[in-house]
């Protein structure tokens, strides 16, 4: 498929495109790139190294994401792919891409508040969360914890639908 040899930055860009096909196993509309967990891509002629950072320390999807990245790179004919984990700087929901936020909303999950310093989001009352179904701002929190580590449970007082909110951290 590759007709001309690519230079390093073209190769890198191509790897980022491949990574866009690797989805979060829990939220299959988001790619690992949308999530902002891919921190670095390094490649040479005979190897590819992808550095990822966990969303939560105990996120059980991380191992699967790592395996999926390796599988995807292998199937795209990259030799010797490697995935490393970096912890610092710690992941924040501000790293979710703009398109990722849109995808979350259309999937029925309210995206996290944006640009809120994490400490304020953690301690103070936050702005009302908009219902991803009917866009009403009349919503309330049912529980600070939800079906996965990254989500909280809310409900809409207008359309009466419960919905997940991607926690702001």
């Amino acid at each position: 498929m590759v007709a001309l040899p690519l230079n390093a930055s073209e190769r890198e860009a191509e790897i980022w495109r491949v990574l866009e096909q690797v989805k979060d196993p829990e939220i299959p509309v988001l790619s690992v790139v949308d999530l902002g967990i891919v921190r670095e891509v390094k490649c040479s002629d005979d190897s590819v190294e992808v550095a990822i950072t966990p969303t939560y320390s105990g996120c059980p999807a991380m191992n699967m994401i790592e395996t999926n990245i390796l599988d995807m790179l292998k199937s795209a004919d990259y030799p010797n792919p490697k995935v490393t984990t970096v912890l610092s700087p710690a992941w924040t929901t501000d790293w979710l891409s703009e398109s990722g936020r849109e995808k979350l909303r259309s999937f029925g999950i309210a995206p996290p508040e944006k640009g809120v310093p994490s400490k304020r989001a953690l301690f103070a009352d936050t702005a009302p969360i908009q219902c991803p179904h009917c866009e009403s701002l009349r919503t309330e929190r049912v529980s600070e914890f939800g079906s996965t580590a990254c989500k909280a449970l809310h409900r809409c007082m207008d359309c009466r639908e419960p919905f997940d909110y991607f926690k702001c951290i």
């Binding site: 320390s57 105990g58 710690a90 953690l122 301690f123 914890f145 079906s147 580590a149």
Partner: protein
């Protein structure tokens, strides 16, 4: 500044890892038994965060030790006296009020600890702390809200949570004890001055208890020993449950 010995650093990180692992295990016992669905999910989510933190810490401890022990080896193949967690985290769940008081007292401590560890000279420990602090802040808010809700709730919820507080108070002193390992780590700019964070812990705890109309118990005789591997009998039961598979079928994997 001094350079700590490898053994002391291992011990320091191991203690933190053990705290997270043992409390994470305790909370996981609530899975399917929570007082309401949302709390069932909350407690198991917190358990998951703690076990995630334990994995990071124990993996790092194994690396420091340099004897080729993985996070799993450290979790599954050590006996009780080699566990160095605080006594408070191994106390049984009992009822929900007891569980949430234990969580409240520990979250408040853990929050102060991780906040200070951000400045640790040990880069890896500082990055684990940065990750864990976000999670711990969330836990701390959750447990404090429940203390207020139960304390300032019905007569029965108030009595239960006050009783749990009275019973668990004697395990809070150990959190702030500085032994040789802690002193050495503080000296090296890696560890935290536990006596200095006590004041911040007090502030948070007092404010929440006041709002919850609960009475802060008098400081009296404090139980300690966990950091030195002297545990209450409860730890043995946890390990029997936690380690059964690897002890009965060494090396089992899936």
């Amino acid at each position: 500044m001094t350079t700590p010995t490898k053994e002391a650093l291992f011990e320091y990180v191991l203690r933190m890892g053990d705290n997270s692992l043992v409390l994470g295990h305790r909370l996981s016992e609530w899975c399917g038994h929570g007082p309401e669905l949302e709390e069932d999910i909350a407690l198991t989510n917190i358990a998951l965060d703690l076990i995630g933190q334990a994995r990071l810490l124990l993996a790092y401890a194994g690396e420091i030790e340099g004897k080729d022990r993985s996070e799993d080896d450290l979790a599954y193949l050590r006996d009780g006296m080699d566990y160095k967690n605080l006594l408070i985290v191994e106390q049984p769940n009992q009822d929900y009020s007891y569980t949430i008081v234990r969580q409240f007292l520990y979250d408040a401590f853990n929050f102060e600890l991780y906040s200070r560890l951000l400045e640790s000279k040990d880069q890896h420990l500082a990055s684990i702390a940065a990750k864990a602090l976000k999670e711990t802040s969330y836990h701390r808010r959750h447990s404090a809200q429940w203390i207020v809700r139960l304390g300032d709730g019905t007569q029965m919820s108030h009595e239960k949570v006050q009783q749990a507080l009275d019973e668990l108070w004697m395990y809070t002193g150990e959190m702030f004890d500085m032994d040789e390992v802690d002193e050495g780590m503080l000296e090296a700019g890696i560890g935290v001055d536990l006596e200095a964070i006590r004041h911040h812990w007090d502030e948070h705890v007092n404010a929440v208890l006041e709002e919850a109309t609960l009475e802060r118990p008098q400081d009296a005789w404090m139980m300690s020993g966990g950091k030195a591997g002297k545990h209450s009998e409860h730890l043995g039961y946890i390990l029997a449950d936690l380690q059964y598979l690897q002890r009965a079928y060494p090396g089992a994997a899936w």
